[in-house]
Symmetry: D3
Subunit: 255 residues, 6 copies
Amino acid sequence: MMGYLFQGWNCRGPAKYRDMLLDTATEEIGHVEMLATMCARLLETSPVETEKAANDGGVVGAVIGGSDTQEAILAGMNPQHAIVTGLGAAPRDSQGNPWNANYIVASGNLLADMRFNVTAESQGRLQVARLYQLTQDAGVRDMFSFLLARDTMHQNQWLAAIEELKAEGLEDTPVPSNFPQELEMSEVAYRFMNFSEGEESKEGRWASGTSMDGKGEFEYVAEPQAMGPEMDELDPPVEPRLYSTPKQPMPPASS
Amino acid sequence: MMGYLFQGWNCRGPAKYRDMLLDTATEEIGHVEMLATMCARLLETSPVETEKAANDGGVVGAVIGGSDTQEAILAGMNPQHAIVTGLGAAPRDSQGNPWNANYIVASGNLLADMRFNVTAESQGRLQVARLYQLTQDAGVRDMFSFLLARDTMHQNQWLAAIEELKAEGLEDTPVPSNFPQELEMSEVAYRFMNFSEGEESKEGRWASGTSMDGKGEFEYVAEPQAMGPEMDELDPPVEPRLYSTPKQPMPPASS
Amino acid sequence: MMGYLFQGWNCRGPAKYRDMLLDTATEEIGHVEMLATMCARLLETSPVETEKAANDGGVVGAVIGGSDTQEAILAGMNPQHAIVTGLGAAPRDSQGNPWNANYIVASGNLLADMRFNVTAESQGRLQVARLYQLTQDAGVRDMFSFLLARDTMHQNQWLAAIEELKAEGLEDTPVPSNFPQELEMSEVAYRFMNFSEGEESKEGRWASGTSMDGKGEFEYVAEPQAMGPEMDELDPPVEPRLYSTPKQPMPPASS
Amino acid sequence: MMGYLFQGWNCRGPAKYRDMLLDTATEEIGHVEMLATMCARLLETSPVETEKAANDGGVVGAVIGGSDTQEAILAGMNPQHAIVTGLGAAPRDSQGNPWNANYIVASGNLLADMRFNVTAESQGRLQVARLYQLTQDAGVRDMFSFLLARDTMHQNQWLAAIEELKAEGLEDTPVPSNFPQELEMSEVAYRFMNFSEGEESKEGRWASGTSMDGKGEFEYVAEPQAMGPEMDELDPPVEPRLYSTPKQPMPPASS
Amino acid sequence: MMGYLFQGWNCRGPAKYRDMLLDTATEEIGHVEMLATMCARLLETSPVETEKAANDGGVVGAVIGGSDTQEAILAGMNPQHAIVTGLGAAPRDSQGNPWNANYIVASGNLLADMRFNVTAESQGRLQVARLYQLTQDAGVRDMFSFLLARDTMHQNQWLAAIEELKAEGLEDTPVPSNFPQELEMSEVAYRFMNFSEGEESKEGRWASGTSMDGKGEFEYVAEPQAMGPEMDELDPPVEPRLYSTPKQPMPPASS
Amino acid sequence: MMGYLFQGWNCRGPAKYRDMLLDTATEEIGHVEMLATMCARLLETSPVETEKAANDGGVVGAVIGGSDTQEAILAGMNPQHAIVTGLGAAPRDSQGNPWNANYIVASGNLLADMRFNVTAESQGRLQVARLYQLTQDAGVRDMFSFLLARDTMHQNQWLAAIEELKAEGLEDTPVPSNFPQELEMSEVAYRFMNFSEGEESKEGRWASGTSMDGKGEFEYVAEPQAMGPEMDELDPPVEPRLYSTPKQPMPPASS
């Protein structure tokens, strides 16, 4: 939701991309509302809640000073749902880490960002599919079937946008395609380097044949060699007033 | 570096993918070393350092109690390079945020992860290209030309791996392709929903034609309607012992 | 504790506020000690500990390689209390997030900060009240009865300080009251805007009558209109050397 | 924006509060858009940009390998605006810390949360007022005059909601008012404790007179005494298998 | 692993220290691989997995919408191992906090850093020893016996490096020893100050006798006195354009 | 400050250690106050402040919409000191990262923790020494001379405590010394492994001679060999309902 909003607001490309980003960003606000509502409803009717009705000590009691094992069983519930949010949803992951903007990608380069988006929808659909398998609750599965379908659409949507960007000549592999490729060290631009034990990696599509961007030939280097000159030592004597350890004892620094 | 290591260590797919991931993870350890060395060398010979030789108060002095404006000029230098690391590199971004594993993606699903990897190399090459434009230093540009070329290879490499996974029938769009698609709400699986003002988004590839996975037809919904039943209110009275605000005043909760 | 310390140390207002802040900050150091002691004592005598005496594998064993279900029951215990702190308290929340200074507010404006303080004591007393309901342990409830009473005092104390600041003419609503109000766009300063579906919000005190600061009349706008000129597009062509996506394909950037 | 959304979605109180919260949450999405647009426009036309047009090395060059002092001057610009976002806005604060949900408060208790909201709008209006003083740019000041007015409204709005909650008997001081006050240690519920040097704090409204909730009398305790029994030591011998330091040397723990 | 890598890459001291740091950094990459492999194997064969084979709802089901208590028992498992990593390891601690570079210390001063390293290996061996006690799994204990031995070596190794640095005259207590000690306020350089209740601290080695660096005599100060002049108040009137609270009401700030 | 408080509160060892920890923790509260006061005073009289008096646009104006280069010069000041704290100190580092409890170590094992403390005082004194060199301000240097002396004491104090713990038989190298050393894989407990290029590491004290704990002989292994059996692949087929990539295509998972 936040990523698509910022990609849309920062978009300087053709209007259809900006509008499309803001369409889907708006949809995602709704998805967050759906999830928050689901959390609140499940907390209302969870076995934990039922248990608490019959048992004054309750679930968090088990953690603090509960007196029997059965209460401890229920302690798998996130205690902050009782103590902090009063059985409401919180913008945190299942381990209590707050959502944060570290994950937001909005680079201004639409191909780079659309690749991020197709990734996000892939990880997202994968996680919903796993969750689907792990519950039998019909209402929850019903909502997941909606989210799974929307993630199907969104994977297709960002892949379509990638095709469109290429077809319109706006961007291509390697991103950014507008950087003059003669300025990169071309002899290593299509070379696969075998740095770990074993050579199974030689069997893959990435080790031979035309490169995916059609601009080179993959080459497999079984024993990559250091290319630069021998690394000189970090020569200059350390700055005495910063007290890093030198090669030889030094007189005290004046102040 | 950390992402490829964990993807490789956790890989249960064919050996060539695991080996390939660990090859490139190992290469990335070297890239971090190159960058750390570059930072240390630039700090040794930067104008800041030169300035300091001639001026006892120095750069950080400008921040703390410096006496003239010229020192303040240099305060754009990250003071932690002098105070915390002694002119060495630190695993932090240009704003001082420490690197962290929030960014590490290793889901076990190789297509989902390869899509992340192609994204990472796209954002990475974009950032190096921008940095290239912003410096005239020949040594720095030389190292960037190497990194740009390797990012070209890596974008191609992960795209090739994506093709290979599809060709071998291991995974496909929509990820995860093994989830039975009849369980998702198929009527919304290929529908583009126009939720923001304007209909420029109708002009894109994502709004009509066969979907990218070949399994549906894109459809443009100009005025999407709510599909579920009217949202009931969150009905049950609030749990009195958690002191959330109810619809009506309630008697005090017993303890 | 940290917030009141920094508010006190940074206070430039009348001495009674500074002294009062440091009085309560010092008290809060004691509250943290009480909580740390409570944690350590509960860990000493918890059923988990008892269980471990009779069972070599113990609680964390259940997570790592335990052999029966009963051990798993106890796994609701935070394993870091055994492994990291040796049955001592740690400055972290119930989800393992370390305490941090993101929450510290010390703006220099005492009314803004006292409002934060009354909020903190309200959330704090609410959480302790919820915890009280969730345990039957007499010793824990005894300590909570002390903390609840002190939070009652502190809510009253910060509310009293707010009254005092107003009575002394040092600050008022809207904060900061010293900003010349004619410089704000007065026509929207007391207007409630109905941006979500439904008009239930019209029924509230905030939708009509004199505003709480006595300086305006609340007005309800059922259908708020955009006020600015039509948003121009972000016009200038993108900077070619930063490789953001433009409206039209561009020639490669020189370097 | 995120806080009001979650407060609204989790609200179980009267409909007018929920609707009001979602009205203002929606307005705040627009405020974020306005700020993102302002950032992008300022980056387009900043002196930095102008400077770059005339100088190939540019602003970030000054940090990496620039050759003259004037470039260093400009290094006060956040380099991530050039390198990471391509002159777009990012959801981060002025020090590069990503926005995060640590700040989101949605407790289910509307008085506790409204107090948070009036705090947020007070700190917010204070910061905008400070920014207003620090720029002469007419366009920026124009937008600030709008935001200042809206923060005036929002301070009044949340204060009005607080009055309404009290008038309707839904909540009162001390929050949560529904917790039976006889269960708290009443003798310390209205006592101000003087814990730091100096007794200036005795002069405040919080030190004498009727408490703000009308339920007690403030009392000033110049020399507060410890109330509990002498703190016993943490008695039980340390668990030998956790290797904490005991009072006496212990034999090795069996395994 | 990351700390030793950065200490090695940044090392400007004698080559044997740099080489030694990179030797052990490389070994630690292997330790992380061992732990990642252990996690994956335990997840494959855990009782949770077994349980799931017999029970379609599974472990996460218990959290979301499970129907019986036994499933709840198993909810102590980190659900992200199922949902996010697909039964693979993740670079996070046992509470779900991502690993981060906040912990990385590489100051350029080798004695300061070696002291950090001996600390890290001490905390590390302590935690592995605790884990050893808490599992009966032979394979896990076997791996722990290896890690315990390596931590024994590494504690000895960093202690040996500390001796070597002193013997070679490169660094000594107090770190940094090259700072001219006459510039510090020598009268408090070996004085123990008794600031908390009780004088048990008088009995320790730190309260009398020659100091550990051989350069002073420990002295016990039972009642430390403030040394500076009476703290003046923060005198200057507050800057009116920043709206902090002053001692006296002020006229509105011009803009 | 926070670390010593928690170590003291959690201490179960002899009373003199607990008392000593709380003595120094209390002293550190004072150090934080001194630093906060120093920050506030420097902000009052900094050239930035002077500049602002003569120039309405001011320092932050340079960032937002300033009109001349001289203002930009001053933008090296942390703008949050003007906007967020009103020229007061904030509990953040020089890059704006909030202080947090990630750094707090309180393990219950006093030798492990005293080693942490001597590290903290070493890094701390190193950083103050560097800052001392970077300013000419007499008042600031005066305060630094006090802090340098106290860090000298504290390095000596924790080293003395380490000696005391050993002398009293409470703890020793390797920490935890109470873990039965025969349970560790003794053949690797004193072996230095040469894993990186070059054998300079052979020349150090850690490569030969009696180990520092007196319990073994250092041994240098120039070419360390893998010790375990060949790593089997992660054998079991992936759990189909979690959609990780298998070695062979699999039929869709039932739900």
